[in-house]
Symmetry: C2
Subunit: 339 residues, 2 copies
DNA sequence: TTGAAAGCGGTACCAA
DNA sequence: TTGGTACCGCTTTCAA
């Protein structure tokens, strides 16, 4: 069952390709193609189930109606939810989305961006590894439409949709302080991500504001690829002397999960011995023992805004950059010791 | 910064497009293009950062090097993990993947499949809504390469990679029986999915085998779109007289989470009053109070096999259908009352 | 109101 | 060893 092409229709109907193309693209009336011709064409197309080859169309029009989504990891719930939102909105507007995960690798990110460009995607939405200034600068220089999500480059002016990381962590730390903790630790990822840096700053600022010492061992930074492996030692070192923390803020949801796992293994009572707050959520955080207090990132808004901004930029070449730092929310549950 | 095309190179270098195309595709030696010519071409391409337009190439070769992934919901951890695996493997083999979520809607599924076909994807991996025989039959009739994952159509012969749903549930029920429960309920989704049907059968068979009655109210089926709303009544009706279940098997991970949420609200002690097992896992199931016993689906194998089978079919037109029912595993935790 | 033809950027066959 | 050229399927301009 060979695919029907414009040419086939043209030959069968003895009507030129151009007319058919026009009609099938809904510009028949505009171009004053006669009703009969139009009907004949529509009828034939329907009957033979004609569908335009998007490759050919794309080659001809110079746009592919595809947008590329480059993220660290589609199996991470946070990005998956953003992806879902992006896809939903994009698809409603006639775009398909090609996605790829970088696994936080700069090299992969470079490859992926390139391969999407080769595919002629009309625009990109990128949650960058932030180790990849070169590519971002290049995209920018080429005036290629893209918007950064979740992570942006502070010294490169681009469109971005991020969250107020600093503010979110401030709330998290304040919450622990409210529930009477002074010796508060911060478990995070190794530097490299601005978002992570901002969260650390939020922690340090808040401790400072309250004149609480950030003692040795209070701040722990894990390697993205070795979280399971390193978490036991990290937690051990934090809960026992000399650090002896009474509270921990985890800078991201999977760190919180891994950290809690270790706390449990050590029979540390949460929140009695150590209260915890997670920056970022997981779907079962309310069911966990104890339920986890967490800073909520506005996932849907990130996705929606990213698509909106990108599409605006597809239509209009030279728009001002849009930069959004969305506010976080917080759900207070038992783990922070407030009750 | 306009993109460099083959034509540009051809004009600059005074070498024909065909030669350049050959060389850049690594077939220079094979076609005995002189070393010098090859070097000139490579050098120019490098310097001017030439990248082939995949749309054009696809149009010409008739293959796009894209594979389409159609799933119910990318933000569901189960599918997200499969997607990650598929993407990883596919990308290593030179394919990009376009994905879309159907939200369990037949209409969306039809639209999405069509839009991927229009995009000229080389093949499809589909976790179908199973309300969509027509499309599957059409793909099959057209001999279009595709493989079904997670859900297949029993009366249509196709490639598929699914799990042994029946067997998984049998183990789940047996586990509850082992820990002394007789009045065991089954919370599932409204019929429509073969996988769900198989799980129900697994439950019924096992109950039957042990001569346990399946009393009124033991089997509950929720509507995919109203789980949060309907779960309270479902759980209430199950735990109190006359159903008074002592154990519940949830037919999928999110039902287990929602169900447990209600059990907790009702102050039903798990597993003392009601023991539970989940078919399918969530990342924090080990941290939940109580930790959830769950049937583990072999996510990675599903993804890997799907890609393998699909790629084989891309290379070779008429292969026999491959049909895999992968075995599940089970992680036993407190919720089933075994300890 | 409709058609012819050029062009999008490649690939691949056939000559030279 | 290299080049010419038709063609993939569609859009779009210009003429008729």
């Amino acid at each position: 069952m060979k695919k029907v092409t414009l040419n086939d229709i043209s030959e069968s109907l003895k009507i030129s390709k151009s007319t058919i193309s026009l009609v099938l693209n809904g510009r028949g009336d505009e171009k004053r193609v006669s009703k009969e011709t139009q009907e004949k064409i529509f009828k034939f197309a329907k009957e033979h189930n004609y569908k335009a080859n998007q490759l050919a169309r794309g080659l001809s029009t110079g746009k592919s109606d595809m947008i590329g989504l480059v993220i660290p990891n589609i199996s991470d719930n946070f990005y998956a939810r953003i992806a879902r939102r992006i896809e939903k909105k994009a698809s409603r507007l006639g775009y398909n989305v090609v996605f790829s995960s970088t696994g936080e690798s700069k090299i992969r990110e470079t490859e992926l961006i390139q391969s999407m460009l080769d595919r002629q995607v009309d625009g990109l939405i990128i949650a960058s590894t932030q180790k990849n200034k070169d590519d971002i600068l290049r995209l920018k220089k080429q005036n290629f439409p893209f918007v950064l999500i979740d992570r942006h480059y502070p010294d490169i002016e681009t469109n971005y949709v991020c969250v107020n990381n600093n503010g979110g962590v401030v709330r998290a730390v304040e919450q622990l302080i409210n529930s009477g903790r002074k010796r508060i630790g911060f478990v995070s990822l190794k530097p490299g991500l601005q978002a992570i840096e901002d969260r650390l700053q939020g922690y340090l600022e808040t401790m400072n504001k309250h004149s609480f010492d950030v003692k040795d061992g209070f701040v722990q930074e894990l390697d993205y690829d070795n979280i399971e492996k390193d978490m036991p030692d990290v937690i051990k070192s934090m809960v026992k002397f000399p650090a002896s923390v009474e509270g921990i803020v985890f800078s991201t949801h999977f760190l919180a999960a891994a950290g809690l796992r270790e706390l449990k293994k050590l029979n540390v009572r949460v929140p009695v011995d150590v209260a915890i707050v997670s920056f970022g959520q997981m779907s079962a955080f309310d069911l966990i023992d104890p339920p986890i207090t967490s800073v909520i990132q506005p996932v849907d808004e990130i996705g929606d805004n990213a698509v909106d901004i990108l599409l605006k930029n597809l239509e209009n070449e030279d728009l001002d950059f849009e930069q959004m730092n969305l506010e976080t929310d917080m759900i207070i549950r038992k783990s922070c010791g407030t009750f």
